[in-house]
Symmetry: C2
Subunit: 491 residues, 2 copies
Amino acid sequence: MKIPYKILIPFDKSSALPVYIQISSAIIKSIQDGILQPGVKLPGTRQMAELLAVHRKTIIAAYDELLSQNWLEIIPQKGTFITEKLPVVKPLALTTQTHRDTINQTLQNKLNKHSFIYPPPNITHKLAFNDGLPDVRLAPREEWARLYAHYIRYADPALIGYTDPKGAIRFRTLFAKYLSETRGIRAMADNIITTRGSQMGIYLAGLTILQPNDVAIVGELNYRAANLTFRQLGAELVTIPVDEDGLQIDAIETICQQKPVKMVYVTSHHYHPTTVTLKPERRLKLLTLAEKYQFFIIEDDYDYDYHYSNAPILPLASADRTGWVIYLGSFSKQIAPAFRVGYVAANETIIDEMARLRRVIDRQNDTVLEFCLADMLENGDLKRYATKALKVYRERRDFTCDLLKKQLGENIDFRIPDGGMAIWANFTPDFPLKTLSEKVAKQGLYLSDGQIFTQENPTLNACRMGFASMNFKETEDAVRILKKAMASKIP
Amino acid sequence: MKIPYKILIPFDKSSALPVYIQISSAIIKSIQDGILQPGVKLPGTRQMAELLAVHRKTIIAAYDELLSQNWLEIIPQKGTFITEKLPVVKPLALTTQTHRDTINQTLQNKLNKHSFIYPPPNITHKLAFNDGLPDVRLAPREEWARLYAHYIRYADPALIGYTDPKGAIRFRTLFAKYLSETRGIRAMADNIITTRGSQMGIYLAGLTILQPNDVAIVGELNYRAANLTFRQLGAELVTIPVDEDGLQIDAIETICQQKPVKMVYVTSHHYHPTTVTLKPERRLKLLTLAEKYQFFIIEDDYDYDYHYSNAPILPLASADRTGWVIYLGSFSKQIAPAFRVGYVAANETIIDEMARLRRVIDRQNDTVLEFCLADMLENGDLKRYATKALKVYRERRDFTCDLLKKQLGENIDFRIPDGGMAIWANFTPDFPLKTLSEKVAKQGLYLSDGQIFTQENPTLNACRMGFASMNFKETEDAVRILKKAMASKIP
């Protein structure tokens, strides 16, 4: 059999990779593909150089490389051979689509399936009533760029090396103080672990406390990513109703009397998705039940700082006396999603366990960003920025609520939210959101369908309408598109 | 009972938090602690103002806040009361250490235990023969700072918002091309997911393929963090021997014939911890077995670029024809640990599943760093930097090996590693590493004990000695300390 070396060994003289490496790699590939079998004699260096039209020295270098890697062997007086020690590889048929499909199917059968985890929506629309995202155009970008560049250029090399899986002690110490002063949470540095964001806080908390089939109580409706996380961890999700005062806590006791409950997840401040605040008596009741039945409370306070009506309400964690509350949040909503610093505050026993798990998940947080944040906490820039953003978002909330009421009138019903970055809007059945959102998407407007938040209520026709990321002009444009799409009933 | 309001309600006029908020928060705290019980009548605003020595308007504002949050209620003609709707909270005894211990014990009993996961060593020593870490003093810090600051200041706002859990498409496209050109891996953007580093790659790969009690084959010895990760995921670890040619692949077939094997983990290029390279016939054999018995290969190529003797050997992934190889690595060793961008390259079916899991773990990677890296790939800076670092590390390897041989002579035995950043050194039994490392630590030198890599060999007296992070002068100092500590047998 004549071996087509010219075809098997392509190379590119303009590549950054030396030609001799390209040649030796191509020969290895042919061996691995079963085309060059063990025992095959290679042409001499002079002959191969002619075949490939390269200098003989190049071939000598390539063969040397292959010899040193033990792909070839020289038999004196006989020549250079693919070493006989290699196992025989059966060549595969040419890769066809059918073949690829078979491979993928085989692999898929061996994987753990998580197809219930939908990918997050890819919002590329010009305008968006999103889930309640901040306007990154307001982010303190100059400050962020300046601080980050400063630390990368000048900080002690240790800062850019491997660091504590709990996060930088400087940041945790400052932040613990900040939590005590502003939110009444009695925390020290040992009670804090930093995370990439709220989502990692939810995952770490769940991973630390949930065993497969443990009962986790969530509201119906509830923040979807939290539900997906607990399901991924194997928990049995049990739902309780949510009304205008938040989770109906009384329902929890009934469940506790039937079976052990491991955890209750709550966004106590601005309930996700419906934006309501958990009222005081339910807060105290929830804490009392946690003590009595010994379950954990994961308190997700992801947008604590955006509260418009009165002072933000103290978190449950501030009233926790026996360590059952795992409090988490992040700076994604305050600075920008790409500024990935979040935190969990809890009893040190829990934090220690989380640090162990963190070590195998991704080793450590971004210490440099933590230092940037520590500076912003110390010099007051974070507070100044938050005050400015709060003002802008309050104006946008009011503007959006007014406009929606005026323009969409009876076809939409909502409560003005006390805080957060989204309105929870109910649409009349004349305008099913599934269809409506597809219709407005064609005009460049993103609108979601709140059906993603429920598996129990097929008639729910409501959605989150984020108001924070659009300015007045954009909101006007968005409402105009929506109004036009709602000019007549959708059949 | 007279309530000691003055003590219950501390405030600090110099705090950033308004005094009325501090007062209302303190009252809430006292309610939550069961000190102010439902039905208790609060002093009138005038009287409370006198008690606390603040202006009456401040008390009015504090009471208003509490009323709006529903902690208080006004009964006309009677006064202001803690609302009767609140549940009664039983006050806890004063927090003593015993009480704290009880709480911690109760919580601990409810947590998932991972005490087998040791925290990573905290190396604060001036000098260190570490696990094989790069010298972050060589990192391209100016370039990194400049690019990062540029993107934060000027990039499209979308870049600092929520992005694709697989990583930025721009980076993945470029990097797939880079993998094909330099490592012979046939990859497209869809075959890549970016991670925080190799560790997250190992975790994600394990989470995607391992079910509890699945058999995972690892070498004895093996990279400890990988073992910890697979154990955390519930896998049954089965070990096979490692010799000077890497994993003894033949042992795998014997195991496969006894029970289903889900995965083999291998650092094929520079085996961790013993630094050997998997030889060609074992590589081909491993791939053949994976096809035959349908198990996954996790190929961790964490320091591919640091290979000194000949050209780096093509990864197993370059010869994978049926999708069983999951290839991973990172830029932590090349740029700096704080530059947390790693990657997994695999069949798109596997990558899709990883992206779903990634979504619940921490939502997304650091897109800004990915853009910085894309620029460095495009403009050749990464290659220039890697070439420079390779030269430095080769010199340090040679310098360190020479010095160790000369100074420690017969008490230490090692092979000069072909690549990577550490030597695997065997010490004579006269110098047990457990004691020796404690002894040199007192002189400011970090030295590890390779017992962390084994659970089967109590007589192993060897360790990784990273040579890359110290310059010549530091290495001389380190070896001097070691020599002095080894001047006479350790009893």
